[in-house]
Symmetry: C2
Subunit: 186 residues, 2 copies
């Protein structure tokens, strides 16, 4: 790309605002420049590196959590705008894998998606009504699964939520959840 440094930095800002999870390597590949150039641009623009960006987002995200205890989120919450959208990251550890292999067991991915869907619903006493998860590819030991969730429809006390799990921009699962608030039960 033959962009001027100013144009490139403007584009870099836009890309990071849209997807703050991209590493310098991914940003370099996207903009067709070297990793060194990206690092320099970030310094000039005062944009922290991906790890710090994620940490800052996580701190804000947990402050918005009302429907679950912090410990009830499976994975690390990265973004939470209640009633709108949310994201989390789950690193696949040995305990999450089948005993005889390095493939993550479905219920851990389900747990990531389900807890993110519940987190998206503001308030207390939120439960899952229906969950439909399609597992597209296995997730393996050591991989980081980024789940992004959006509220598609809100009807009375029900939220219809879509959650997509990605590993390095490849979809590993797609989930659709109906979560709802109960009035009485604890």
């Amino acid at each position: 790309m033959n962009k001027s440094p100013e144009a490139r930095r403007k584009k870099l800002l836009e890309i990071i605002e849209k997807n703050p999870f991209l590493t310098d390597e991914q940003l370099a590949a996207t903009l067709g420049v070297s990793v060194q150039t990206i690092r320099l641009d970030r310094m000039i623009l005062a944009i922290p590196e991906q790890r710090e960006r994620i940490e800052m987002m996580a701190q804000r995200a947990y402050q918005n959590l009302t429907s679950l205890a912090k410990e009830d989120i499976i994975g690390r919450l990265l973004l939470l705008e209640p009633g709108e959208k949310a994201a989390s990251m789950l690193e696949i550890t040995p305990e999450m894998c089948f005993k005889d292999g390095n493939i993550a067991r479905g219920h851990f991915l389900f747990a990531q998606a389900n807890s993110l869907a519940v987190a998206l619903c503001p308030g207390k006493n939120v439960l899952t009504g229906i969950a439909r998860v399609s597992f597209k590819k296995p997730a393996y030991l050591g991989q980081k699964v980024i789940a992004t969730a959006v509220v598609r429809v809100k009807k009375q006390n029900k939220y219809y939520i879509k959650v997509v799990g990605n590993v390095e921009n490849e979809i590993v699962y797609v989930g659709r959840f109906v979560v709802f608030k109960i009035s009485r039960e604890g």
Copy 2:
């Protein structure tokens, strides 16, 4: 009921064969006699009590398991006829509940149903493709969730399985799973 003892015992045998998970109290209620009568009838028929029946079934069930390690079953396997039907029991413990309450978290129920569906598929390298679970009622701390799974359709390497989770004859969830055998990947 005014059945002769012989007719009652014949009926008792039939009921237990159909549902070995019923307690003496439940059998007594079903047949309209006292718990003492049920116990006497069981002695005469040499039918062990419910706890022992479940233990005997579990021992047989685990011998039929090929697609998962024993530890990968969530809950206790009670019945396994590969390619046909299966059952398991999951007792809800505090770790399975939301931090702020005594309701079981959805992903533990999902894990029971999902591992039972995978167990039903004979062979190795079995994964879940699609899962749809409808949560009907919450399951609470201390409750025992009995899941029963049946293969509805088998097409090439795919199994379509229905799993129903019950607590004391009330449905807590209904799940539909498509599980499949992969040829290569470990």
